[in-house]
Symmetry: C2
């Protein structure tokens, strides 16, 4: 057991997966949950929480680890609400996809003697809500921490033990760099996927029935990305605005160069570009972050939902 | 057995998968192969062809089905070369991702009494070459045919039997509509994925090591798409230019609207947009074209290559 009492604030995909993983590995003595919706709390009580509470303040009382797992835009208000109830020596972490705005919103509320260690698990599915969690979500996935300089070393080590205990690989980086890296590997790709799915949805000469039927050749991967939780992603784009707009600008430039090559019939340019992008892919497979199985490791017919 | 002798012209992923599937199901009496490269022919002879030939003309001699499985840009020259050697009553089909340019390049060479039925299997992996094929590639995938009006009904039925025998679902549509639909569900998504991977590759403040490590959150799906065969995709963009440029124009407009919403902090617009895109995704899962398994049905660690 690494923490005696863990309080989960927000009970969606990430929090419910953490609860399942902590139970499976015996990492927490008691798991207490809070969510705004009574229905969500009831599901959490049934599936993975020892106890749920009607307020966030109650949930964090006596907890030695508090996990903020609400959308990034809601972090500040919840931090203000729980701050007076945090136990001395407790650790507060979060699982938000953007770190600077969470630090700005949460850190001012954290009392002296409580350790705030911002975090971000790079793991997810297209599903959300308290029924979507499962114990192996973090297995072999990265969990990034962005601790402030001078953070308590023992508190940091203890949190790292919890995360690796749930199967994650832990890395540390500074807040600003985190937000730029994520804008590249996650936020901008998501926006682009949303956009492409939106374009398909607006076409009149191609029916959505056709789009759905023939999705296997590329579009399918975009729809999977574009099915993620709308509230979470709205908050990501609003709070990591500068980095996302920077990468989007570069993307538009690059796209226009390829678009021009198509218009001009410049096959050499296209071939050279497409050859370069293969190398990155090989690196990802070698790094163990994807499978090389035929048809992307997917069954031809969908299995039952887990 | 549906055809006595099948000639495969070009011996990459699609042709080798066809050979494996035809063998597994006993659909062809003899499978003859031709590829430009002697190395490729040697691999094909070893793995899936009864016989390989040093010229395309030899391969098609006496065949009752000829499959053109070379890049779209090479179809015209090969059709011209084989035309004098085609057996009366034979069927010629192709597997190109673009249909209008193939029809324009191939149809003029087809002699009277030979049936030309253009086709396109919506199936693939990120791998290419004669070693990449496997018998189940077409299982539950669409195979689109774009026969000219007045095509021989018996020849069409016979080809359909071969394709369904390999596990594919067959649909017919007209040539122009095919190219527009594919621009939406496949060609433009591929170009966008190539672009995003290129942007990541050019960043100076984010190392390619970081991009590779943290790819799991969205970017990974782009790299998979962007690892496809460069020659094939160059030809797709050069030959389906008009439809791709049309969809790219719509995509850029749509992206700019979302970009502006981010800049202006318009959370309502973003949330409404992201909510709409979820519906298409649900449709794709219901249509059996993807799995709903957690983490997209992928193992956390890569299995051995098949």
């Amino acid at each position: 057991m690494i923490y005696k009492r863990v309080a989960l604030i927000g009970l969606g995909l990430i929090a419910s997966s953490m609860a399942h993983a902590m139970r499976a590995q015996g990492l927490a003595g008691e798991i207490v949950g809070y969510a705004k919706s009574p229905e969500t709390r009831a599901v959490a009580k049934e599936l993975f929480c020892d106890r749920v509470t009607a307020t966030a303040a109650e949930a964090v009382t006596g907890a030695d680890l508090v996990v903020l797992a609400v959308p990034v835009g809601a972090m500040g208000a919840i931090a203000e609400e729980i701050a007076p109830h945090l136990a001395p020596g407790a650790t507060v972490t979060d699982v938000g996809s953007v770190k600077q705005s969470v630090v700005d919103a949460v850190a001012p509320h954290i009392p002296a003697g409580v350790h705030f260690i911002p975090g971000h698990p790079l793991a997810g599915t297209e599903y959300s809500g308290p029924r979507s969690g499962f114990a192996t979500l973090f297995q072999n996935r990265w969990w990034l921490l962005t601790p402030a300089p001078g953070v308590d070393g023992a508190a940091l080590d203890r949190l790292r033990s919890l995360l690796t205990g749930m199967g994650a690989n832990v890395d540390e980086m500074d807040v600003e760099h985190h937000d730029l890296v994520l804008a590249v590997v996650s936020h901008t790709p998501h926006l682009i996927a949303y956009t492409m799915v939106g374009v398909a949805d607006h076409m009149r000469r191609v029916s959505s029935q056709e789009v759905i039927k023939y999705s296997a050749s590329g579009f399918r991967d975009f729809t999977r990305i574009a099915a993620s939780d709308p509230t979470m992603w709205r908050d990501v784009f609003l709070t990591n605005k500068d980095a996302v707009l920077d990468i989007l600008g570069r993307f538009a430039e690059e796209l226009f160069v390829l678009q021009r090559a198509i218009r001009m019939g410049d096959g050499e340019h296209l071939h050279a570009y497409f050859t370069r992008t293969r190398a990155i892919r090989r690196g990802i497979i070698e790094a163990g972050q994807d499978t090389a199985a035929p048809d992307f490791g997917r069954a031809a017919t969908p299995p039952k939902e887990a």
